[in-house]
Symmetry: C2
Subunit: 317 residues, 2 copies
């Protein structure tokens, strides 16, 4: 039984991680500023003796006594992280710096939620952890990408210099219930559009690809990584790669099954600047070092997510 801090714990991934850690019997502190997360995501734990919720911005220092820190606090979707790039960079840098300082003081193990975005628009496919990436440091996505890259640099600098025990997870596109409703990510956009019988908005020609993993697999991976000896960065993502076109059709099919009808079509809008063309992890390191493999099939995960959004839509009406 450990004292575990989860920053960004009221967000999409964070709240699933909190669930799992609570079920494992740990003492969990969930820290969040509720920028993109919400209390509703962890409401079911409020009042539980092992659970504590702190409203705090990771940009400011904080004193808590813990054994492990999962550092997830950071806006994660292009719409949100581009809405205030300076704030995103401050969260990326100051936030990580403060959590590393905390780890150093209390000798906690630190896990950084990094991202496949540090590979940018990759020229190597699939992406291995040894790949250095292809990122535009002055483009519109840079506040997020460079914020995460420098957060990795900072983590390993604290490791080398102050012996902080660090883990780095490079997370690939993840979806599931509790995804932020209006964060503009492709999964939430498509599902909401399909459920509302609106056309699915495809940016560009629909031929670019992503590999979508279900959130429960990611949570498995994060917990395995935290408790492993693997100090190198580890990709956590699935090999199931889809074009955005294929993915859109899958969502329409599932919406049809769920609602009995779905008249949505695909509409093609201008491509986004610097939008990565392809993304798929080489996840052999996670397999070898963590004995981790995604277990969920995308279609099953998507079906759960469609159900979740349908309930949400009904509650809003």
């Amino acid at each position: 039984k450990k004292r575990v801090l989860v920053t960004g714990g009221a967000g999409f991934v964070g709240s699933h991680l909190v669930d799992r850690l609570m079920l494992m019997g740990h003492n969990v502190i969930c820290l969040d500023n509720f920028f993109t997360g919400s209390k509703a995501n962890v409401a079911h734990w409020i009042g539980h003796p092992n659970f504590e919720l702190i409203r705090h911005d990771v940009i400011d220092p904080i004193l808590v006594e813990v054994d492990q820190i999962y550092h997830l606090a950071c806006p994660a979707s292009p719409v949100h992280y581009q809405s205030n790039p300076v704030k995103t960079l401050k969260t990326g840098f100051f936030g990580t710096y403060n959590m590393l300082g905390l780890s150093k003081r209390v000798k906690a193990r630190f896990l950084l939620a990094s991202t496949s975005e540090i590979y940018g628009d990759p020229e190597e496919h699939p992406q291995k952890e040894s790949y250095w990436g292809h990122v535009n440091c002055v483009g519109p996505r840079a506040c997020y990408d460079e914020g995460k890259r420098v957060a990795e640099t900072l983590a390993y600098s604290y490791h080398r210099q102050d012996n902080v025990d660090v883990r780095v997870a490079r997370i690939f596109n993840t979806f599931g219930p509790r995804m932020n409703w209006n964060d503009g990510r492709v999964v939430s956009n498509f599902i909401l559009q399909a459920l509302k019988d609106e056309d699915l908005t495809i940016y560009g020609d629909g031929k670019s690809t992503r590999s979508f993993q279900y959130v429960h697999d990611l949570v498995d991976g994060l917990i395995l990584l935290m408790n492993s000896d693997c100090k190198e960065p580890v990709n956590i993502g699935t090999q199931q790669e889809f074009t955005i076109d294929e993915f859109a059709k899958m969502v329409i099919d599932l919406a049809k099954k769920e609602t009995g009808k779905c008249g949505s079509n695909l509409v093609y809008l201008p491509a986004l600047e610097d939008d990565p063309q392809r993304r798929k992890p080489d996840n052999s390191r996670a397999k070898e070092q963590l004995n981790w493999e995604p277990k969920w099939n995308v279609v099953d995960g998507l079906a759960e997510t469609v159900k979740y959004f349908k309930t949400q839509l009904e509650e809003r009406v």
Copy 2:
């Protein structure tokens, strides 16, 4: 006549920039923490009514009222920036953040001294400003490279968001008098070794290249850029590219001329990790937008630098 702040003004490049700005009649504030710079570099201005020297670390906020900010404060040689990677990252991020906050408040124009290192170990040659670079964000050079990359991101984020007027100079290898004596850079190492009749230490096979510009050309470029309308990043460097072997031989020849004798040979040591293999700017943007071109020949510049180090050596004895 402007009020100009030069951070890192007691350093190698900074002190030459201060000289020029003083000769142009500006009011100059030189800010430095003297980590790698020294008071001796600007001693000749102390007492001048247009000059002020402030001991300050850019990691902390500061209030001054100025019209232009040249932000150079940052350790620049691998030996120095790797000696405390966390501090280097803090200087890169907090320092730039504070100076941008200052620029925003007083509506000063801000120029970032960025670097060719943001291109990493480049796969495009020569390097254009549009090249995204090839940087290992978890390697030994990352504290400097990623610190500068994120500083650029921060600068353009302040520009887009708060309308801060920014200029970004991507500086390629520069040498000249007042280079730090013990910073381990190839120019100072080779010259000192040659003057002391020691063997010149070559890391790797001597076949990697650099393009070395003389500091006066760089100072021209920085001032032109500051006063231009060019908001995009601009490479400032020379097209004269040498292998480290060729460069070593040049230094030995010059040392011979200067001292009448030089028995140094080349010794080959193991290569450094992630050491860039080739580096040469495409400087057409500087030519077109600033009407800038390097005027100094490398051999002439080197001769001046050899003289400088010889005097320094004699004074130390």
